[in-house]
Subunit: 154 residues, 2 copies
């Protein structure tokens, strides 16, 4: 199981593709973002996109799924304190196939807890044409193997 | 229908509550964030939280739903260029009831397009004890009524 000390700045992970169907766009929107342009192809025709497109958060959620499947499995991941930035760069349309490219951009031990460390990563989702549709920077928490069993001793 | 010019900095919107069940936590996790602490109460007992807790993105998605239901309906909302910051402040557990408080913190016309403007908002999700569990700052795009019909004339 990979712990904090096993990662390096510059490490790159690629995952996917994941196909985004019209049904998936509408199902996500119905649950979490019921705006007409994500629910109804007719309504979406009157937007600048000119057709059904996915909620930005849907793309963020698909990025999370690829992150878990392609990177976090078999690691000592313990959650996240947050996200620093999300940029929606291009619409995600029905039929798009998205791939994720993640890069580790920073590693730092927790200043307050000897048993964990923070990994900062930038991840990008691209469609089948290679166009970036979403970019985000997030921080993840990992256990430190070197301090396993000594949590809370500070 | 409310357009860009109809909002004011300082406007506050409250929405909710939304109940977060164990089934909803697991269903979201199974789809988008299949990490053990969001899927399995037994596995979650070994974490610092000590029990099943929701994916942070699940809380962000519930915030989006309350934002649409409580704020974006009957507005000329046209999407979002992105999110500036998300902070996960406390775990969301099965049985928590979350409410959203949103404040408009900035308004600015688009420098490049006369028909739209950007609204920046800070929103917070709180549990039934009034504890903030998530805070985020996002930007939304709205059509400008005063320029309706003149899109693209620049």
């Amino acid at each position: 199981m990979r712990c904090y000390g096993d990662f390096a700045v510059g490490e790159v992970v690629e995952a996917g593709p994941v196909l985004v169907t019209a049904d998936a766009i509408k199902a996500f929107a119905a649950q979490f973002d019921p705006q007409p342009m994500h629910l109804d192809a007719g309504a979406a025709q009157n937007t600048v996109v000119g057709g059904l497109f996915a909620s930005g958060l849907h793309t963020v959620c698909l990025n999370m799924r690829l992150l878990v499947d392609g990177f976090l499995r078999d690691t000592a991941a313990m959650g996240s304190p947050g996200v620093d930035e999300i940029r929606y760069l291009a619409p995600v349309r029905a039929g798009d196939s998205l791939t994720m490219r993640l890069e580790v951009i920073d590693l730092r031990p927790s200043p307050g807890r000897a048993d964990i460390g923070f990994l900062r990563c930038r991840s990008e989702m691209r469609n089948g044409s290679g166009q970036a549709v979403m970019r985000m920077t997030a921080t993840l928490i990992f256990a430190r193997r070197d301090r396993a069993g000594v949590a809370g001793t500070e």
